[in-house]
């Protein structure tokens, strides 16, 4: 059997804590240490809040699918939604020297994960995140 976990849940922020719990424990099962588990959880959480806010425009009853998979070299997370797609040119984190609220999530995802791929096709948006074992995230660098 494929070593994967699939979660389907509504785009309601009330479930964020439940989903974080599942991600953190899955990352631990996949062999990541406590600190990396926290980072991976943060990155996936940020991607999920982006779906709620930007793809579903804070509509809390829309479907989100999350697949977590153990790979030889790390962990792969695939997140699927059916909301508003994002144009690739709009997917840029903000300048961190500009101190203002917002725009931090994408920066965090890119700092933490080893690889990030996004596809929007026929009303289906798929974000694929990969974290390689041994690729450390260092805060503030």
């Amino acid at each position: 059997m494929d070593n994967a976990l699939k979660l389907i849940f509504p785009s309601d922020p009330r479930y964020l804590g439940v989903v974080r719990g599942a991600i953190e424990r899955f990352a631990a099962l996949a062999g990541f240490d406590e600190e990396d588990c926290r980072w991976i959880t943060l990155a996936v959480h940020e991607a999920l809040t982006n779906v709620i806010r930007h793809a579903y425009h804070n509509k809390y009853d829309q479907p989100v699918e999350l697949r977590l998979r153990e790979r030889d070299e790390g962990i792969e997370v695939v997140m699927v939604d059916h909301g508003t797609g994002v144009k690739l040119e709009e997917m840029s984190g903000r300048d961190l020297d500009d101190v203002k609220p917002g725009g931090l999530g994408l920066h965090m995802i890119r700092e933490i994960m080893s690889d990030t791929q996004y596809m929007a096709l026929d009303g289906r948006n798929e974000l694929r995140l990969f974290k390689k074992r041994g690729s450390k995230t260092t805060a503030g660098e």
Partner: protein, 111 residues
């Protein structure tokens, strides 16, 4: 998440307990902005000792509080950051813009 305010001399403290994420960061933001804009407190200290987790929306609420405090000529301070909260502020490179203290006493006594 629980959030409560209390007074210590001229300082107003906000005690936050639990996770700060997209679900409840609007409440944190509302209380911070109420204290600064409506009550016009001179010194606002946010106690994060009981916060296990904070996401970018929580960080954004703190940044907004900091920016409003500057326009209101108030002080805005944080203390009691958990390792997870500190990591998130460091990753977003925002730790340097806040006045961060380890203990409540240090925050209260800061000149």
């Amino acid at each position: 998440m629980n959030i409560a305010t209390r007074q210590q001399g001229s300082s107003t403290l906000i005690d936050v307990n639990g996770d700060i994420d997209l679900y409840n960061s609007p409440e944190v933001r509302k209380i911070i902005l109420e204290e600064l804009k409506e009550k016009k407190v001179p010194r606002l200290i946010v106690n994060l000792t009981g916060v296990r987790y904070i996401d970018s929306s929580g960080v954004a609420s703190l940044v907004e509080g900091l920016k409003v405090s500057r326009t209101m000529s108030s002080r805005f301070m944080l203390y009691g950051l958990s390792p997870a909260a500190r990591e998130v502020l460091e990753l977003s490179r925002l730790i340097r813009v806040f006045e961060v203290f380890v203990t409540e006493q240090e925050a209260l006594e800061a000149k």
